[in-house]
Amino acid sequence: MRQYILKRLLLMIPTLFGVAVLVFLLLRVAPGDIVELKYAGTGAFAPKEAIERERVQLGLDKPLWQQFVSWIWGIVRFDFGNSMWTGRPIIQEVSIRLELSLELAVMATFVAILLSIPLGALAALKQDTWVDYSVRLFSIAGLAIPSFWLGIIIILGFLIIFKWMPPLTFTSFWVDPKANMMQLIWPALAVGYRYSAVATRMTRSAVLEVLREDYIRTARAKGLWERVILVRHALKNALLPVITVIGLEFAFLIGGLVVTEQVFNLNGIGMLFVESITRRDYTMTQALVLLVSFVFIFVNFLVDLIYAWLDPRIRYQ
């Protein structure tokens, strides 16, 4: 097992290297010069010397391979360079926003799990009744409703019914947990609902499948309580595919964060990402894409590990 973990971790390096090469090259084959585009974006008049000066300052006058090598060398030392927009170190810009986005991501995952597992199990138990149909409708709607719109509707509902709006300035969990929760639970709901949709459907079909197994019949024949059968025997075995889906759908979560932070005016990684693209802040965009891909790949790896840990039948070589 230890060997397997090590191998997977090492395999991440070439993948991430590939991502880095791809992003680096893509942003440089872009039509037009980065510095000129940046000035064009701001609408300010820029003399030729100023552009040249900035190019030299950003190291854009050097050959492509040199730029790449120095960028990669920086990453190896955890130095992602400076933002082309603010001029501050990227590590600093990212780290002040990471807490918010991570907390939101964790909360949204909890919302998704709390929604999908009970609802999916319920739908499976009451298969082909109105309960089942409503749950299926609820989950298929979750896939169709954009999380940013759900966010707007939540805000709208509060405004109209309670004349209240979730606070717009971020309070850290460590400063005031209650205020923090009151602010972040709503975007977490908006993201989590969509995130839960596929997992609910997966739970339903997994439970249905497990309920037909021999050991469930045996448990019933023993005269066990239905509740024990469901929780200890059926649900426990049905959880495996659900966990996979929650891991695989992690991309939804990232997409959800990008748009939902915008709605709730949360200054997180998603907001930073959109801003850096709008401002053509290439160094920041590069770093964020690399960060997101890393998290994405790492989560997939974690899911595989949890999978093996939960199911003793699975042994990775």
Partner: protein, 299 residues
Amino acid sequence: MANEISVRTGAYPFTTRVQGWLEASLRFVRQRPLGAAGAAIIFIMALSALLADVISPYDPLRNNYAAMLQAPGALHWFGTDSFGRDVLSRILYGSRTALLIGFASSFFGTTLGAILGVSSAYFGRKVDLIIQRFMDLLLSFPLIVLALVVVAIFGTGTTNVILAITVPMIPRSALVVRSSALSLRQMPFIDAARALGFSHRRIIFRHMLPNVMAPYLILLTAFLGQAILLEASLSFLGLGVAEPIAAWGLMLRGAAVEFAERAPWMAIFPGLAISLSVFAFNLFGDSLRDALDPKLRVS
């Protein structure tokens, strides 16, 4: 040439083909009412996109400062926005944007992916390895992140949005199509085509691609809903189509949130349009998948 006759449907008279289609459609409606409902919504949406010029009560782009933020009523069924533009007209025209971008990007994405997937399976070995590694690389970006990267490179605007949504679809389509093309590669008729000395291109396009039609169609419909949602998200972020084009995501941007309390209709109707259309495509896609591929059916 003998091996091609069986593939051609043109050998049947026209009326039989129409009857066959009608029967198949009727069977689809009877057996999968939900999918048929989805198809009906898609049909209405397509109709309103086609006839937007005729059925829209107002010009979707004309500002009317005498009628700003008006509540839904007899004159403006869905109300007006902060520029006095008619929300209903903008939604009708918005279905044009959504369908155009949705269809174009999922068509290009699925088709390019299918060609890559089939080629990958057909050539095998090195070609397969290179294509697969590259697809894996693209798959290590979440959908929206890759789309945003493309926007970062080429900028916003309708064509670039189509490109931005097409690119992340390609590896997802290639992956699925390759796996069904792999078994196809072992079929005797491919060997026969090779023995007849047909070119690689001909075998790929005329012999293999037509046989992965089922997964191709399933992917195409599954991507349609996602593409519409992605377009709406990009436009909402200000990184999609540009004002003043009528697009649902764009309608939810800025003023819709700013005036949420005073003019909730500005936020409600475009969102409903997005949700309903994605819902319809998902319903239709799911039913189509069940109908075309019994193996994929879940419980």
